[in-house]
Assembly symmetry: C2
Homo-oligomer: 207 residues x 2
Amino acid sequence: MNTPTTDLYEEHLVLEAEARELLFTGARTANSFSEEPVPDEALRAIWELAKWPPTSANTNPMRVLFLRTEDAQGRLIPHLAEGNRAKSASAPVIAVLAYDTQYSEYVPRLLPYMPEFKDTIEADPVKHQEHARFNSALQAGYFLLSVRAAGLAAGPLGGFDSDGVDKEFFPDGRLKSFLLVNIGKPGDSPWFGRLPRLEYEEVVSHL
Amino acid sequence: MNTPTTDLYEEHLVLEAEARELLFTGARTANSFSEEPVPDEALRAIWELAKWPPTSANTNPMRVLFLRTEDAQGRLIPHLAEGNRAKSASAPVIAVLAYDTQYSEYVPRLLPYMPEFKDTIEADPVKHQEHARFNSALQAGYFLLSVRAAGLAAGPLGGFDSDGVDKEFFPDGRLKSFLLVNIGKPGDSPWFGRLPRLEYEEVVSHL
């Protein structure tokens, strides 16, 4: 495994080395999982962290369906790309991340000082759904790091038939799945060598 | 300020209380900033953390432009919604988060075991850009938590004219801005009371 070059400029960070390693620099996307079960309370703990970082207008459009039983996972697996099936089948829990297409229903409660934002955002159906897609993706970032905060490996997976998954698990059409996350303790040979990142100068500029 | 109810089920978390508070439960979106400058090395440190968590096919489509000078920020402010101008003007640094519409150029380097993914994803122009939007939003989540890891307040801001910002800062059309982030130490009365979140049962279900 490549040595993380991640403690660059660490004197400017407040977050301690151990926490950085757990969430950012040492954690990896697992490709196999051990059989150690993940208790429901750990799933709850993950959400109780992931729910706090910000979303635009505090809309919080992401929803989570945790698949824990063999039966439930068996309904999901056929909708995965062939190459993703074995690793998901080995995960004790698979989270289906979805967004609520009718998230704005909650605006009066979640944004009590500006309840009229509900009407504003609903007035433009395209923006209404773009808002859900963007903010649920942002929340997926928080969620993945929260899984790691529970000492578990997260295996995000985009290669699946989301229409098929929605028909199977969200038949009323309100929720739209957008990412799967395998969750568990890493198994044998759980990861490949770390893939490279772009150079700082290729990504970041200053004015 | 509401007491964070965030240490629920904490015995299932490996991340320590101090780090949880810094990144998730105690951190808040700042509405005013102190004049304390943010050194360039802190901006670098933020990126050196934010770059590690995963993106689909390791495409890493997000780009960052840090606006530090009064001149540079002055070019941005007119493109902000009226109500957002004062708080951004008080931030020592404003990050413009954008995605690279031609991110797939880097696939052969970033995904060396599957360089043909470049052609696969480019073959469907709609998916090509959706991939960039989704993964850059995911990276924005990592970025916001990385700003907090540097002990700084992050103020994400979606209320701006992205076409105007792109014309001003990315005139060749390759980068598309999608989020602004005010960065600095919190100023006087930096935040309102914490807004509520949905109940666990409203967001999460299990099978």
